[in-house]
Subunit: 321 residues, 2 copies
Amino acid sequence: MKDTGTDIPTYDDMLAAHERIKPYIHRTPVLTSSYFNELTGAELFFKCENFQKAGAFKVRGATNAVFGLSDEMAAKGVATHSSGNHALSLSYAAGRRGIPCHVVMPRTAPQAKKDAVQGYGGQITECEPSTSSREEVFARVHAETGADFVHPYNDPRVIAGQGTCSRELMEQVDGLDAVIAPIGGGGMVSGTCLTLSTLAPGVKIYAAEPEQADDAYRSFKAGHIIADDAPVTVADGLKVPLKENTWHFVSNFVTDIFTASEDEIVEAMKLTWKRMKIVMEASCAVPLATILKNPETFRGKRVGVIITGGNVDLDTLPWIK
Amino acid sequence: MKDTGTDIPTYDDMLAAHERIKPYIHRTPVLTSSYFNELTGAELFFKCENFQKAGAFKVRGATNAVFGLSDEMAAKGVATHSSGNHALSLSYAAGRRGIPCHVVMPRTAPQAKKDAVQGYGGQITECEPSTSSREEVFARVHAETGADFVHPYNDPRVIAGQGTCSRELMEQVDGLDAVIAPIGGGGMVSGTCLTLSTLAPGVKIYAAEPEQADDAYRSFKAGHIIADDAPVTVADGLKVPLKENTWHFVSNFVTDIFTASEDEIVEAMKLTWKRMKIVMEASCAVPLATILKNPETFRGKRVGVIITGGNVDLDTLPWIK
């Protein structure tokens, strides 16, 4: 098993990741909306990872980890704990390589995500919806299988993979002033920092977080990691805390972190479905919600907005009670 | 007012329409789905008019009609009756030209569509949800305003405009064997026939219709127009009957018409949202539902599928009771 302690991936790791994963991922489209440009006074460029393979950006990092394994290591398979999309993504990537994938998942995760993990061939062990329970159950599964642990976000292979998203974005859109992405564990934001700090150091990086799971915001203001055990938010992909490797990037390269309330997130989510005709998760609406809430920061700017995933349980939409 | 009796638009009318409307419409993307290709055994190319301006293909025909008017005729504005998307589209086009738009609309139309018509500046007069009531109320509004009548689908300017969609599709995808589109009044199907019968006469054209509003299917089999007065279907854009000009194209150029049940339509709709991450109307799911039902016709073929619109009332999704 690879030691994922405090390994910080490099720009070259990101470039190598991009070559490695290209056969297995989509170069996702960038959409614009005249409606949202008028509403915000900014020029927004939505990088649509909801159209990505397995329905989320997380396939980038997972695929990089899976296809970087030696044949000997790969034979034992991979394992992870995840609130959803990393589980799908690792299952997808393992399936493409033809190796086993063991997933520890909260029993409260959306049924659509559980079905999809199993659809890709992933094997699920359920835990309670708290960080402590997840880590305890995972330790047991990991010991039993000997599979390679691919952490959902703290793994340098995963961060390098996520960094390929903003590399594509910079190729697709000229003259961006800023990029904003949702932050949970910080994998996407760290990948964005990894890539932009070398490729486009003038581009500001913002993170957006639910008020009800604002550990990254509080960590950022305090200057050290603060973790919550079991936050409750509609943005179910954003409940997990920062770890050492993602904290490195967040603390060094992020300009600011903004938060939004549950109502603001749901409203931005529904408005995006309505006007842009795309299915995306509540997590992806947090950046737009914070842009609407902090217009002075974004007005007149060209802003990349990462739409992180589209794996929604269509039977339980948050605006339909 | 232009006589829209039995004027059949030509291929050159379609080319002229494309030049006229290009500044006001999107060249919409074509999406593919490895999931649906595996499921159907066909290669499907989804032409996504749900991402079109005003949220539907109907903006093509409406914009062609509005911008083809002389200044003198335009001054009195335009008027129409519509179950929804043509109303939005004509309001959008009239707004871009800065002229009035009068809309007669069933009181049962989705609230989202009424709001959007008014959002674009259209003025709504409500009627009962039947063809007879719609025509009666419209005659009054038309007489009072003197506005130019732009029929939702029987108008040759509208058919020529809708034909620009399959022109784009043929530029975007090589070697199509067939194109399939939903059929209500037949505007999109007629435009498709208009374009392909000259540009690619070897490409088969199929139409897809709800079983519960299968007047086009029955007309096609009978060899003459059969109209229903008030059919009930979740595919609310497909309730209207064929008229002379669309019957001309359907009867001469369509290879076959397939139907699907309400359950099949809703299932295909939800599955498309889930797997392709796009918001589209129930009407757009009818083609996919019929492809799934008639696999022998489509297996091994390269098939263009027109996703006609994305103006959904997100508060009342048909799979959530």
